[in-house]
């Protein structure tokens, strides 16, 4: 094997896993809250949620620096009260990943909830099921294929996040070097062997992930149609 540092792999997986967890919980919750409701300004709120999807990563990164930088609105407050610094730490990478992958999760979850048959939930309610029970036993299982798609997309997006991460987490080898950063700086400094290794690694991983999801959802649909 090549003589190299494998820390980017572990760090990337850690960052993507934590950010996906946060994004999944928040995305499902918010999408469910908004799904069956209509209120003034809903489209504006939704547009705000989806904004990171269309903004250039540098804009997102700059915005995050303004919020979470040492002199930033949230950053200065965290530093003062908890002596906690986000910028140039791996937590910064997690936050960048959360912000860019949230739209994907939200969109998938919203679509999944919108397409549910409201009558099923109502039937459960007439039999005295609490909202909590309705969600866990009716809504969640029925929406799961859509939620899973969002989950996988968010994980992949978090794993590949580069632009905003470079700005917020910086590039500190051994501390904040995710795979995309390792690739970028390897290419820039002409270490093609290193770059190729990481490119093959992350491509294989992404490819397997897509294969698995496709296989899984097909199997699920088959099972669903059979019963």
């Amino acid at each position: 094997m090549l003589d190299m540092d494998y820390s980017p792999l572990l760090l990337s997986l850690k960052v993507a896993a934590i950010s996906t967890f946060v994004v999944f919980v928040a995305g499902v919750f918010i999408a469910y809250m908004l799904a069956k409701r209509d209120f003034f300004g809903k489209s504006i709120v939704e547009a705000l949620f989806l904004l990171p999807l269309v903004l250039p990563p540098t804009v997102v990164g700059f915005g995050l620096l303004i919020l979470f930088g040492k002199k930033g609105w949230i950053g200065s407050w965290l530093l003062e009260w908890f002596d906690f610094q986000i910028v140039f730490t791996w937590i910064g990478a997690v936050i960048a990943s959360i912000v860019v992958s949230f739209p994907l999760m939200y969109q998938s979850a919203a679509a999944a909830f919108e397409s549910l048959d409201e009558r099923l939930s109502n039937a459960a309610r007439t039999m005295g099921a609490s909202e909590w029970r309705v969600f866990w036993f009716i809504v969640f299982p029925l929406a799961w294929p859509g939620l899973l798609a969002g989950l996988v997309l968010s994980f992949a997006r978090g794993l590949g996040e580069f632009g905003a991460t470079l700005m917020l987490a910086g590039y500190i080898p051994g501390r904040t070097d995710t795979i995309p950063m390792a690739i970028y700086f390897a290419v820039e400094s002409g270490q093609m062997e290193n770059a190729t290794f990481w490119v093959v690694m992350i491509s294989t991983f992404g490819f397997s992930l897509i294969l698995w999801v496709n296989w899984w959802s097909k199997r699920n649909i088959r099972r669903f149609t059979k019963s």
Binding site: L65, G69, Y171, I172, P173, F185, S189
Partner: protein, 265 residues
């Protein structure tokens, strides 16, 4: 279905039209420029030269009627690669001898036209209103700081010089966990300007143009390879004479004066 098709078609058509209109526009300006001047001189220059060169453009064109200067700024390494791959260029102004040497080895430049036109120094900077506990490179240690922003040594020239400096002071290894490696010198400045990194190492010319940082110390010249800016005429240039005129102007009195005004030596 029909409405869907119609709207899709109209969107595609709009994108297509935007594409066409842009193409036409560049065509037009291209012909207009040709009528106005005989020579369009493309100067590929290191990003750190931006401010000085922009200021030089007017006076040079004034003194050399018929020549229009077009700048192409970027990192020296990237510019060298694009020129090698055939990007049209007449003059190459590099921030490092290394890139220019590579170009010379591959016979991509006119060797006799090569000349060093500026020098730069490496400085330690901090945010303007940061009450710094240290005042020299030697004072840098893990106890006095959280983060130092520097260029990535493998790809950014200023990072290479910084590593040489830190190595000669035995600082690189102990500070490794505190070094935020940036993709160009502007990013180093941003990190320091916003107060996210306590210190940063940039060229003195960069510190010179930023209003939000102050210089704490200048690196001794023997801590790193000399930082010289070599310029040369590209071998394949169609405007050899005009390119040489630009280089002469840059190394002449006016050029020197402007470069000094922006912190170069």
């Amino acid at each position: 279905m029909r409405r869907f098709l119609l709207s899709t078609l109209s969107i595609l058509l709009t994108i297509f039209l935007i594409g066409c209109s842009n193409a036409k526009e560049t065509d037009k300006t291209g012909t207009v420029d040709q009528e106005k001047s005989d020579v369009e001189l493309v100067v590929s220059a290191a990003a750190s030269l931006t401010d000085a060169l922009v200021e030089l453009k007017g006076p040079f064109e004034e003194a050399h009627k018929g020549i229009t200067v077009i700048y192409n700024f970027g990192s020296s390494g990237k510019l060298a690669t694009t020129i090698e791959n055939g990007a049209p260029s007449d003059v190459f102004l590099s921030a490092s001898s290394k890139d220019m040497n590579d170009m010379e080895d591959k016979e991509l430049i006119n060797s006799e036209s090569r000349k060093d036109f500026a020098e730069n120094a490496l400085v330690l900077i901090t945010q303007k209103d940061f009450d710094s506990a240290i005042s020299s490179f030697e004072d840098l240690n893990t106890a006095t700081l959280d983060h130092v922003a520097v260029g990535e040594p493998g790809s950014v020239p200023v990072g290479r010089y910084t590593k040489e400096t830190f190595d000669s002071l035995d600082l690189w290894e102990p500070l490794q966990d505190k070094l935020v490696l940036s993709s160009d010198v502007r990013q180093v400045l941003t990190h320091v300007e916003m107060g996210n990194a306590d210190y940063g190492v940039v060229y003195s010319s960069d510190a010179f143009v930023s209003n939000d940082v102050k210089v704490l110390a200048e690196a001794e010249a023997d801590w790193h390879e000399p930082i010289v800016y070599p310029g040369a005429v590209i071998a394949e240039s169609m405007h050899q004479e005009a390119a040489q005129q630009f280089l002469d102007y840059l190394t002449g009195d006016e050029g020197k004066e402007t470069l000094q005004k922006f912190g170069f030596k």
